[in-house]
Symmetry: C2
Subunit: 191 residues, 2 copies
DNA sequence: TTGATCATAGACAGACCTGTCTGCTAGTGT
DNA sequence: ACACTAGCAGACAGGTCTGTCTATGATCAA
C-alpha cells in the first residue's frame, strides 16, 4: 500500500488548499479532482460523498491549528499564565501568512446548516480549544478559570474573525495585549 | 408608487430571512422568488444581479445591527465608559434570539472572495463599528483609545462568532464581563 | 499466465444555478 | 381612450453541481 494512500493525500491536500482559499461550497469536486490529478472513481472511492471530504479537511485543519496553538503556548515558557498570553503568537503568525482568510471552522460553520455533521465538527473543535484554555486557566491559579478561559477564547476567535475581514492588521497584537491584561487581573486577585 | 416598493420589500425581506438562516450561496434566486411571491422579471428588474441583492441585504443588516448596538450603548447611560460595556447587551439579546446564526458580515465574508464588492462591504461595516468604538473610548478618556477600541471589537466579534457555533451560550456574558475589566483598567490608568 | 486490485479517463444522468425572454393582467395619469 | 408602468407566470438557454457508470491500463501475487 504505497501508492494507495498517495491518491487520498493528494485529494486531501488539494481540498485543504481550495476549501480554505475559496470556501467549501464554492469549490466543486470536479475542480478538486482536476487539480489533484485523480480520477473521479478514485475520488469517490476514498470519499463516498463530498461531506466526508469536508470532515477530513476539518480534521486536518484541527490538527494543524491546535498544534500551532500549543507550540506557541509552550514557547512562552512553563508558566500556564504566560502560556495563556503566548498562544496569541500563533494568531499573529497565522494572520501574517499570505492568503490568510480567517478561521476555517468559523468559515465552515457559516456555510453549514446547524445540526449537520460539518457544523457539529466545528462546534467540537471550539469546545476542545475552550477545554484546553480552561485547563491552562485553572493551572494558572485564576480566581475564576471558567470566566478567564472564555474571555481568552473570545479574544482569540475575535482575532481570527477580524483577521479574515482584513479590517484591522493590528488585531493580533491588540488581542495579545488585552489577554495580558485579563490574565494579570485574574492572577492579581489571587496573589 | 404604493405597490411598487412592495415587491422590492418583499424580495428583500425574504432574502434577509433566507440568506441569514441558510447562507448566501445556499439560497438560489428561484427560492427567493418563490417565497416572496414575485415574478422572475420583477426580481431582476429591482436587482439586476444576485450580488446586488446581497449588497442590499448587507445594508439592511448593517442598519439593524448598528441600531441595536447604539441603542444598547445608550441604554447604559450617558457615560461613554458605561456605554462601551453596555453595548454587549445587544450581543446577549442577539444570541438569545431564535435562529441566531452569528454575525451576518462574518458569515458573508466567509463565502465571498476577498476583493469582491460583497467582501468589501463587510470590511466597511467592521471599520465603521471600530470607528464608533474608537470615538467612545476617546470620550471615555482612555489612556490608549485605539487599543481599547480594538480590544472591545475583538470581544464583540469573538462573541458573535462563538454564538454562531453555539459552543458557549455564556459567551455574551463573558464578553461583557471581560469588557468591563478592560474598560476599568484603561480608565483607572487615567484616574 | 492469469486473475485481483488499483488507478485513469471520461461519458452520463438528474438536479440546480443565474439570467433572458415572451405573454398577459391591472391600475394610473393624461 | 390610450399609453405607461408595475407586476405575474413560466418557458428557455447555458452552465455547474454531485454522484454513477463503463472501459481501459498498470501492478503484483499465485
Amino acid at each position: 500500500m504505497v501508492t494507495s494512500s498517495s491518491a487520498r493525500d493528494r485529494i486531501l491536500d488539494t481540498a485543504f488548499r481550495l476549501f480554505y482559499a475559496r470556501g467549501i461550497r464554492a469549490v466543486g469536486v470536479d475542480l478538486i479532482i482536476a487539480e489533484s490529478g485523480v480520477a473521479k472513481a478514485t475520488f469517490y472511492k476514498h470519499f463516498p460523498a463530498k461531506d466526508e471530504l469536508v470532515l477530513a479537511y476539518l480534521d486536518k485543519v484541527d490538527g494543524i491549528w491546535t498544534g500551532q496553538l500549543r507550540a506557541a503556548a509552550e514557547a512562552a515558557g512553563p508558566d500556564p499564565a504566560d502560556q495563556l498570553v503566548g498562544l496569541f503568537d500563533a494568531l499573529g503568525t497565522a494572520c501574517r501568512r499570505d492568503g490568510y482568510r480567517g478561521c476555517a471552522f468559523i468559515n465552515a460553520a457559516a456555510e453549514a446548516a446547524p445540526g449537520t455533521p460539518v457544523h457539529e465538527r466545528t462546534v467540537a473543535h471550539k469546545r476542545a480549544v475552550l477545554a484546553w484554555l480552561r485547563d491552562l486557566a485553572t493551572r494558572a491559579g485564576a480566581d475564576d478559570p471558567e470566566s478567564l478561559a472564555r474571555s481568552i477564547a473570545l479574544l482569540l476567535d475575535g482575532g481570527l474573525a477580524d483577521g479574515a475581514l482584513a479590517a484591522d492588521p493590528e488585531a493580533p497584537r491588540a488581542a495579545k495585549h488585552a489577554a495580558r491584561g485579563l490574565v494579570a487581573a485574574a492572577a492579581s486577585r489571587v496573589a
